[in-house]
């Protein structure tokens, strides 16, 4: 299937998601979240979630349909759907003194984690007694802004990528919410804030833009600002050292990653098109590119109108060189900020992306 694209707004989309059946699309637009009905031929704006007073940096939806948003105004909001189709916001006090940067629901939907510029991760859960969302902080040994978080399938372990270059795995065990997790490669006894893994690349650590647990939860993939893609997998035997592989690439840095399955990862970022990494016998390697500009044909060149030419001269102070154009050969015309699975359970067959160009695109793997 050819990629489906939605041109929604003329501002960056930092995050987006489709609801389970793919009929509803939510995007961030400045201080608001906009919900679109995409079941028809044209996206129709349904409602706007309006309550933050600084740009929203991330959104996520839980399995039971609750939306969480976090923003540069240092707050998070949980939006519960009402039967009328409206959403009721509840403020979650994160107690941070810097912007919130990323948010993720745990797979069981009972907790969510918010990364922030305050060198802390806030783990939030609902306390029935007080009828209020509580946040607990993970602070040590984080030395800089948290740029990304991702949950282990057991809803207890959390991976975090930070601007200090470390990829860390923490336990977020909360007694009143969680059952004791089964032992895994990451450890057995896991009180809150246990550091179960801490990895730093040889270069001394560039910003880690995104982290992701594999579907089994036994390894963590990450992408850094040094254009590398890496995977860490600890071993359950303390005598055997775990595996740490990092693949430098010749692309511009990646901003987001997504496990298609245990041995296949999709990454996208400043190069405006997704690429695929696969685990082969000898480790991880980049094997394919999706929407590759090298194979794309530029077909609009011939249609350059006189108007367009004069507009180019006006904008850039010269006539455009032969064969060049102001558009990129990729579908996305600017950095891709977020990848999310769209279809396929166990093995993702389609995924969606949103970028700074205000587009949401659905690609085939």
């Amino acid at each position: 299937m050819s990629p489906v694209q939605y041109n929604l707004i003329t501002a960056p989309i930092y995050d987006h998601f489709f609801t389970q059946n793919g009929k509803l699309l939510a995007i961030t637009n400045g201080n608001n979240v906009e919900l679109y009905d995409v079941s028809g031929p044209k996206p129709k704006k349904l409602t706007v979630l309006q309550h933050h007073d600084k740009p929203i940096t991330a959104i996520d939806i839980s399995a039971d349909g609750k939306i969480v948003t976090c923003s540069q105004d240092r707050n998070a909001l949980v939006w519960e759907p009402l039967p009328s189709g409206e959403y009721k916001p509840t403020l979650v006090l994160l107690r941070i003194n810097r912007a919130a940067t990323c948010v993720k629901w745990s797979p069981n939907g009972l907790k969510f984690a918010v990364g922030s510029g305050a060198r802390a991760i806030a783990i939030c859960y609902f306390e029935e007694e007080n009828d209020w969302w509580i946040s607990k902080h993970i602070k040590k040994p984080i030395r800089s802004t948290i740029l990304s978080v991702d949950w282990h399938p057991n809803s207890v372990l959390l991976a975090a990528g930070s601007a200090d270059g470390h990829v860390r795995v923490f336990s977020t065990f909360v007694k009143s919410v969680d059952a004791k997790p089964a032992p895994s490669v990451w450890g057995e006894r896991l009180p809150f804030q246990t550091l179960c893994g801490d990895y730093l690349t040889a270069s001394g650590g560039s910003w880690i833009h995104d982290v992701a647990f594999s579907p089994s939860g036994d390894s963590v993939a990450f992408v850094g600002h040094d254009s590398t893609f890496g995977v860490v997998s600890p071993s359950d035997d303390p005598q055997v050292p775990g595996e740490f592989s990092s693949v430098p690439t010749n692309f511009l840095p990646f901003k987001s990653i997504l496990f298609a399955n245990e041995h296949k990862v999709i990454a996208a970022g400043h190069d405006c098109h997704p690429v695929v990494f696969e685990q082969t016998g000898s480790g991880w390697a980049q094997t394919a590119a999706i929407d590759d500009p090298k194979t794309a044909k530029r077909n609009e060149v011939h249609q350059q109108s006189a108007l367009n030419m004069f507009r180019q001269m006006d904008l850039k102070g010269g006539s455009p060189a032969e064969g060049s154009s102001s558009t990129l050969l990729t579908i996305h015309q600017n950095t891709i900020n977020k990848l999310r699975p769209y279809a396929g359970t166990g093995n993702v067959t389609r995924f969606s992306s949103s970028g700074n160009d205000g587009k949401v695109v659905i690609f085939d793997v």
Partner: protein
């Protein structure tokens, strides 16, 4: 409180701030002795006219942990090797290097541009830079900018 944005709120944070040491990676210390041996070896290889080997040798395990004086010595030996290669042979030499060596090459070129000696060879460095990037793509530039191990 007109200019509340200027208040240093971090001053009130008990565990504030990253020191420069926190950000510096643990590059293994290299003695000036080792660096001068390496530079000598690079010069010997260049002297024999095998500039490709000389560069490959020089760009393997660059002395990140050395002191400034040794780094300057190392740099001048690599610059000499760069000068030796004919313009038309640059792409082949770059292709014969592995990815880590290519990354190190870009670091050397950038570092060379900062020094007086390198600036005299500005044209040479630019053409090396141009031809390296043609072979490798943007990766080494991004890694030069984000890598904390400097030459």
């Amino acid at each position: 409180m007109e200019d509340w944005r200027r208040i240093d709120i971090d001053a009130y944070d008990p565990d504030r701030g990253l020191t420069e040491e926190d950000l510096r990676p643990a590059a293994a210390p290299v003695t000036s002795q080792e660096v001068s041996t390496k530079a000598q070896q690079v010069r010997t290889l260049s002297g024999r006219g095998s500039f490709g080997d000389s560069l490959a040798y020089a760009l393997t395990d660059p002395p990140y942990g050395a002191d400034e004086g040794s780094k300057a010595l190392y740099l001048s030996s690599v610059l000499e090797a760069l000068q030796g290669v004919k313009q038309s042979e640059i792409p082949e030499v770059v292709k014969s290097l592995d990815r880590d060596q290519q990354d190190a090459l870009i670091k050397v070129i950038y570092r060379g541009m900062e020094t007086k000696d390198g600036q005299k060879q500005g044209g040479l460095l630019l053409s090396w830079f141009d031809k390296t990037i043609e072979v490798t793509g943007n990766g080494p530039i991004v890694r030069y900018m984000s890598d904390k191990r400097v030459l």
